[in-house]
Subunit: 120 residues, 2 copies
């Protein structure tokens, strides 16, 4: 079974997780039954490692990791592969696919532009 992991940076503000919860709820509405977890690099709970464990516990064999980042920087290009490498050591059968950062996706760019001009 495939699962989705929404990967975020994390922040001190406890409300930072809200958009991630809204994305997860949308994904669950689009594909009922698809396991979706949220995991962070730092500051916000849960850490990515725990979310991978949660997906494995739900029977997931293949994870699509979706970086909720505007552009690939150090966190996506270095930290994420390192975290996934560690997870691969623990779960050698698990497959990973890393999606484009959301900020690179045409539909997301278009939605941000529509918000930018709203009311002008």
């Amino acid at each position: 079974m495939k699962g989705i992991l929404l990967f975020g940076h994390g922040a001190r503000n406890p409300e930072y997780i809200e958009p991630f919860r809204r994305i997860r709820a949308r994904v669950e509405a689009l594909q009922p039954g698809l396991p979706v977890e949220i995991g962070f690099l730092e500051l916000t709970q849960p850490p990515l490692e725990a979310s991978i464990e949660a997906l494995v516990a739900r029977g997931v064999k293949s994870i699509r990791v979706v970086p909720i980042f505007f552009a690939p920087g150090r966190h996506v290009l270095k930290d994420l592969p390192q975290l996934l490498g560690n997870a691969a050591d623990r779960f050698p059968e698990l497959e990973f696919e890393v999606a484009e950062c959301v900020g690179e996706v045409e539909g997301v760019i278009a939605a941000m532009a529509a918000h930018a001009v709203a009311g002008t």
Copy 2:
């Protein structure tokens, strides 16, 4: 005249600015002639202050500031108002409106969810 300021965090990676350029290009396509600038808090050029100056130089009297952030944290809630306060001291006639963070907007949430499930 109204103008748009896309406000981002900034990063070391020089390609970090790309999504911002794509959003600007989309906005310019949606509303030809509307002045749009990109400004950052740190690391990436130009800084927010320079972008405000550029909008003023283009004849803008009212700026819609659009935080390209997933959620409002310290940078949006504290740093941004401080930067805008400084700009208001320099340009007392200038009006500011701060939009919701892109990550709080329904259309952006929906587009991110669609990307998350793409190919599943």
